[in-house]
Amino acid sequence: LLERPGNTTRCEDNKRSVSRDFAMNIITLIKQVPDTTDIKTDPKTGNLIREGVESIINPDDRHAIEMAVSLKERYKGKSTVVSMGPPQAIDAISEALGMGIDEGILLTDRNFGGADTWATSFTLGKAIEKVDKYDLILCGRQAIDGDTAQIGPQVAEFLGLPQLTYVMDIEDIDDTKIIVKRALVNGYERVESPLPALITVIGQLNKPRYPRVDLLINACKENARITIWNAADLKVSVQEIGLAGSLTRVMKTFSPKIKREGEMLKGDKTEVVEQLIERLTGNHLI
């Protein structure tokens, strides 16, 4: 068996919450993203080199999965991941099942493509409405390819749920309410919310576990508990989804302007520092 370093969560560590006898159904929204920290630019053309970039579960979403699994281990109930993406995003769902999630739903359809955050949240919201019942929806704070942090709050609004963003700790949870710590710029706040609610989590929350090999193998089998839904399954028209449903349009993209006319200072350390001091004083910086 693999080592499972993420097996304890803060929720368990601080012993504030005790196991109670109720079922908690949790939906976790995840996204498969290119590992954008791994992307290099062609030094000659300045273009992105997209080939060979690995697809991963968005890092913040892994923390959401970890939270869902650890809550499921404490309470009865079902954990489900929902993801919208191209057919290969099923890999992200399989990995989530490998981490201990019960079921996955993949929303895939050519007409979902090109969606902005409004159209994405609309589609995810429609899918969640189709899922039986839930007490808690978990999301990562933001995805590393878009960095918008908009999906969580937009889905919460679509479903008419309270939202708790930037959650760094779950202090207590029972069948009617949840108490969390939310990270703010200059500290944190403790907030109580009724359930069901939607939470977006940040990396401080926990340490995600590795997938278990046996679960991962099961998740890749044909009878794995993964459902695939398209636009017709969600009863949405193509005018409401994807690029057609989006309220924003990308007009152009370009490489960021970051070059300066750099001057390299040469010599031993005393010489380079002398030259630097000269330039700093010359420009009234010291």
């Binding site: 954008t36 710029v185 500290g187």
Partner: protein, 397 residues
């Protein structure tokens, strides 16, 4: 929106049934029938050899928005003061207002917050929409969303700008879904398209590897959150008359939904990289928490702050509030000293507004040198103490 079959033309050939990706059309009793799985995608239309299929689906139309006027800025408060980003946005709003010949307004929510009006005016607000209520005394998602949505529906603004702070990023998407508005996150540049008068919203995309310019043609107000620190805030020379529009909010106790139990402020002195004139930043090359010591000494000598890259924060050598870059803060100091930073694009995205940049790195091929005014190839652990010493001895003279 629907797909129609002309039964006089339909021959029941089943071509449409085969091509439909949704099983939304089937042939029954020799004629095609559209069922509830149809999404109006229109794939079947072109495949019909008899032209028996038609649709009333039209290209998305742009409604008439000519009555939408005014550039609004959400007035965020932090620690009993107007947030710096709000002042930056009021400045930005004035630039946009000039191109559009429209007025700049601030939207101020709170409880006993009249004293902020003068400051908002000083930074360029010509109107202040003021809503005061007990439930608005600290930011809470639902009461703020409710009141602002009501003000927008009544007053029909053209543009609404919100700081991309934790509060702004909690609030803006909520409003966007409630009122079905397009929203662009974390913009670093805004301007007006001279041809159609629309707001051009530029933001880093794809993890900062690309910049994208976005338009919101289909909804009003055009809504964007804007990164703190990408604009300078400036008091206006002569504040004109400022009109205050009092808003009666229909808030009730149940509107709060969530309840803030306690706010716990960080004990340590708040780091404000945004206000720092000098930033000394470390990357992987500092090697350890101990390796940051010379950076702190240099920062002290220069009267600046110490910052770090994502790696440095992930290693735990510096706290997250000192992170500069795509996932951290955007800074624009007078002087940025990059020490042992290779210069990944995600990091450069956060510091390219710096006036002058010094780069010190062992690797002469490090991309950071392309973003620097002055580069030194060498060991930061030797060069920085020498530099600190030289600065201190100059001061001593």
């Amino acid at each position: 929106m629907a797909i129609f079959i002309d039964y006089d033309l339909c021959t029941g050939c089943k071509r449409c049934e085969k091509i439909c990706p949704y099983n939304g059309i089937e042939v029954k009793d020799g004629k095609a029938v559209v069922n509830e799985r149809c999404t109006s995608c229109g794939v079947c239309i072109d495949t019909c050899p008899e032209n028996a299929i038609s649709s009333d689906v039209k290209e998305k139309e742009i409604p008439d928005f000519s009555d939408r006027k005014g550039i609004w800025v959400f007035a965020e408060q932090a620690d009993g003061a107007i947030a710096k980003v709000t002042k930056e946005l009021l400045g930005l709003g004035q630039l946009l207002a000039k191109d559009l010949n429209q007025e700049v307004s601030a939207v101020l929510l709170g409880n006993n917050v009249d004293h902020f009006i003068e400051e908002l005016q000083a930074y360029g607000a010509q109107n202040v929409y003021l809503a005061q209520h007990e439930l608005l005394s600290v930011y809470q998602t639902n009461p703020y969303t409710k009141v602002i949505s009501e003000i927008i529906l009544t007053n029909k603004p053209n543009i609404f700008l919100i700081g991309a702070t934790p509060i702004g990023r909690d609030l803006a998407p909520r409003i966007s879904m409630r009122l079905n508005l397009g929203l662009t996150a974390d913009c670093t540049e805004l301007s007006i398209d001279q041809e159609d008068g629309l707001l051009l919203q530029t933001r880093p995309a794809f993890g900062g590897n690309l910049m994208a310019t976005i338009k919101t043609s289909y909804s009003r107000p055009q809504m964007a959150t804007v990164r703190p620190g990408v604009m300078e805030s400036k008091k206006i020379d002569t504040a004109s008359h400022c009109e205050i529009i009092h808003v009666d909010s229909s808030l009730m106790k149940e509107d709060a939904i969530t309840r803030v139990l306690e706010f716990v402020g960080e004990k340590k002195k708040a780091v404000s990289l945004n206000d720092a004139k000098v930033i000394v930043a470390g990357g992987r090359g500092v090697g350890s928490e101990e390796g940051l010591k010379p950076l702190f000494e240099l920062a002290e000598a220069l009267g600046g702050e110490v910052a770090g890259t994502r790696i440095v924060v992930e290693e735990g050598w510096l706290p997250v509030e000192r992170q500069v870059g795509q996932t951290g803060q955007t800074v624009r100091p007078e002087l940025y000293v990059a020490c042992g930073i290779s210069g990944a694009i995600q990091h450069r995205a956060g510091m390219l507004g710096s006036r002058y940049v010094i780069a010190i790195n062992k690797d002469e091929r490090a991309p950071i040198f392309e973003a620097a005014d002055w580069g030194i190839v060498g060991d930061l652990h030797e060069i920085i103490p020498t530099l600190t010493h030289a600065i201190l001895s100059r001061k001593g003279n």
